[in-house]
């Protein structure tokens, strides 16, 4: 007999910079919020849920300050940061 143990949901901090702040839930102070998602959620799905563009060439997606591929599964305590890909300083 199999016992399917459902993994606990994971809580990540989502930071959206510049014009992407508009994708944060209404009344969010600053540029960050916390999001809880089921274990095993890839970052691309997390962002799609909120409507945040995540395609390469359009956005830069970082997890804990490092480049993240779209299928990278988020883990509890991760910091996901997203901003539009464009010229900088």
């Amino acid at each position: 007999m199999h016992i399917v143990r459902e993994a606990a949901p994971v809580r990540v901090e989502l930071k959206l910079f510049a014009t992407y702040r508009r994708y944060l839930p209404p009344h969010t102070a600053g540029n960050a919020c916390h999001v809880t998602v089921p274990a095993g959620t890839p970052v691309v799905d997390l962002l799609a849920e909120l409507g945040v563009p995540s395609q390469r060439g359009v956005s830069v997606v970082l997890i804990n300050g490092h480049d993240a591929s779209p299928d990278r599964v988020v883990e509890d305590g991760d910091v996901v940061a997203v901003f539009p890909a464009l010229a900088g300083g």
Binding site: A18, G57, L86, A87, G89
Partner: protein
């Protein structure tokens, strides 16, 4: 000629003679324009060993073949000279409206040489009322000592209200090695001390007015391509333009997130006060409106006002580099204070990057007990906004400790026995990307012909911002190739008279190779020169290599292609780049090989022959 006027104005300030010269069409093509033409003449005419502040040095204002054309962001000019801060060359780039007006005088480039006996300004009027351009050297003792806004206003009254002004402030007059040349009041050809060269020539300002259009080789096709680019930019802007809404001030959040925001004189790349110096704060509290350069569809410039803060004033800025240097590098978490310091730099004619990073270095020297309080005349801890603002002013006037700061951080730190605490390459202060977490930038700072500069080949586009593609900032893989390529690309963009913001994203291919395909088309439609992508890249390489030859003959070798010990030996202490240093020794040999330079960093005879250059040309 098309694109180029083919004319150079030479002003000898010693003899007060003015001459007009024609440029050889082959030289025009081979060296592109702007920065390329300037180094060609500098190399041929100026002894590389010359004292940068002597009358023998020459100062070039150079537009490019796309300046003043319908090309989007074709609104730039370059200031080139032998630089007092570095002893290398300066290639300081500025936008605004002045460069377009300069091109409308009918000259592509101005050369200023010698030294006026007393302060003067040069008035170049080609408003169409005479037979041709009218060039006058006019007395300027009444302007000497005046800050930039007052100088500009006075000159507009004395000449033509529609004219445009480039001038120095008190810093340039006092030969401060961090002095800028300001145009349109708020735009800066900032780096390497170009303002001091102008001051050494007793040249307070260069005022231009013109109505001379640029002939285009294929005007209809050129306009069509420009319309297509503008449509693309407009579509992106419609989706939400970060640069228009926040300016480059949106960047501190990004660089802090990846752990490369210069903090406390580059002791770390993570700044706990970042929330106070973001673009969001600037936009919500102090932005009056976005301020575009001439004809620019992006509008990253900021027209701002400090009403409601503890400071007074209005002006333009700050942009990211200023926030990183006068802000986080000095530990300032107050956008109003950074903006005030920025206004002062603009008004007094100082480079915000080098000024901020030099003050940051003084703060570290002070906190480590190396720099006595008695020397500074005040406590100087990181985060002290009032101290930063006071020291900006003192630097411009060489007042008290400002006289030490005015020499830049390397000479200051060396004076106190700790040159290793100066965060410079070739004595020029780092811009806003700690290279321990952006390795390509480390190789760029070390090898750039102008010393540490992001504008020499800003690979942060790819390592940080994902334009046109994202690459890993923490590896050294392929970075020598990218840096060589970006240095050549940025040379072409500078020489063409374009802004890099638009050029990398909209005029280069969005591939790993980042080839300047559309940029080549644009240059051909303007000039009819018939460049291929390959021959244009080779022209960029030619200009870059000639600049390097000038440096070699001025005494620069591989030993100068280096970084401060902190970057090479002290791992980043925290954040995503924790544990990293710049592996410069692993990148440099491959970079030299790709450039066709020998192991001492000197271009080989074979490479020079391929580029059509001759090291025996010129003086020195």
């Amino acid at each position: 000629m098309f694109g180029w006027h083919g004319k150079v104005l030479r002003v000898d300030l010693t003899s007060e003679t003015i001459s007009i010269e024609e440029i050889d069409p082959q030289v025009a093509k081979d060296f592109i324009g702007g920065r390329g033409w300037a180094i060609k003449v500098l190399y041929d005419e100026v002894d590389p060993g010359v004292d940068p502040l002597s009358p023998e040095n020459k100062l070039f204002f150079a537009s490019g073949p796309l300046t003043g054309t319908p090309a989007p962001t074709g609104n730039r000019y370059m200031v080139t000279t032998k630089a007092p801060l570095t002893g290398a060359i300066a290639c300081s780039n500025s936008g605004g409206t002045y460069p377009t007006e300069m091109k409308r005088t009918g000259f592509d480039m101005f050369i200023f040489e010698g030294r006026a006996e007393r302060p003067v300004y040069v008035w170049i009027n080609a408003d169409g009322s005479g037979d041709g351009p009218d060039v006058e050297i006019r007395p300027a003792p009444h302007l000497w000592g005046k800050p930039v806004p007052e100088t500009t206003e006075t000159l507009l009254q004395e000449t033509d209200g529609k004219a445009r002004v480039a001038c120095i402030g008190p810093a340039g007059e006092r030969l401060v090695k961090l002095a800028s040349i300001m145009n349109d009041k708020h735009r800066a050809a900032g780096r390497s001390g170009v303002g001091a060269v102008m001051g050494s020539k007793n040249l307070k300002a260069v005022v231009v007015r013109g109505r001379e259009g640029v002939n285009l080789a294929e005007p209809d096709q050129m306009r069509e391509l420009c319309r297509e680019v503008r449509r693309q930019v407009a579509a992106d802007v419609k989706k939400g333009s970060t640069l228009r809404e926040y300016g480059t001030a949106y960047v501190p959040n990004v660089t802090n997130e990846i752990g490369i925001l210069p903090t406390h004189n580059f002791q770390t790349g993570v700044f706990e006060g970042v929330e106070g110096i973001t673009g969001e704060v600037l936009t919500e509290k102090y932005l009056v409106r976005p301020k575009p350069c001439f004809g620019c569809p992006i509008a990253c410039g900021r027209s701002t006002d400090l009403k409601g803060s503890r400071y007074e004033g209005d002006g333009e800025g700050p942009e990211y580099e200023t926030i990183a240097s006068l802000g986080s590098a000095c530990g300032l978490d107050d956008m109003a204070a950074v903006t005030k310091a920025n206004y002062l730099c603009n008004e007094l004619g100082l480079d915000t990057i080098s000024t901020g990073v030099t003050i940051a270095c003084a703060m570290e020297l002070y906190e480590k007990g190396i720099l006595p309080e008695a020397d500074v005349g005040m406590p100087l801890r990181f985060g002290d906004a009032d101290a930063v603002i006071q020291l900006v002013e003192k630097t411009a006037y060489r007042d008290g400790f400002g006289d030490v700061l005015a020499e830049g951080s390397y000479r200051m730190a060396d004076r106190y026995g700790h040159p290793e605490l100066s965060i410079t390459a070739k004595k020029q202060e780092f811009p806003g990307y700690d290279p321990r977490g952006s390795k390509g930038m480390g190789l760029l700072y070390a090898t750039s012909n102008v010393g540490a500069s992001h504008m020499a080949g800003d690979l942060a586009y790819m390592e940080v911002f994902g334009v046109p593609k994202k690459i890993d900032p923490l590896t050294i893989e392929r970075k020598p190739w990218y840096i060589k390529h970006f240095e050549d690309l940025f040379t072409i963009i500078d020489a063409a008279g374009l802004c890099v913001f638009l050029s990398i994203r909209y005029l280069c291919d969005a591939t790993d190779e980042v080839m300047p395909t559309r940029l080549t088309q644009l240059l051909n439609l303007a000039t009819g020169a018939g460049y291929t992508v390959e021959s244009l890249l080779e022209a960029g390489d030619r200009v870059y290599t000639l600049e390097r030859l000038f440096l070699n003959r001025a005494g620069f070798t591989r030993a100068d292609d280096t970084l401060p010990r902190r970057m090479l030996e002290e791992p980043m202490p925290e954040g995503p780049a924790a544990g990293h240093v710049v592996e410069l020794d692993e990148m440099l040999p491959e970079f030299y090989r790709l450039r066709g330079w020998d192991e001492d960093g000197i271009p080989t005879d074979d490479r020079l022959a391929e580029l059509g250059l001759d090291r025996r040309e010129g003086l020195g």
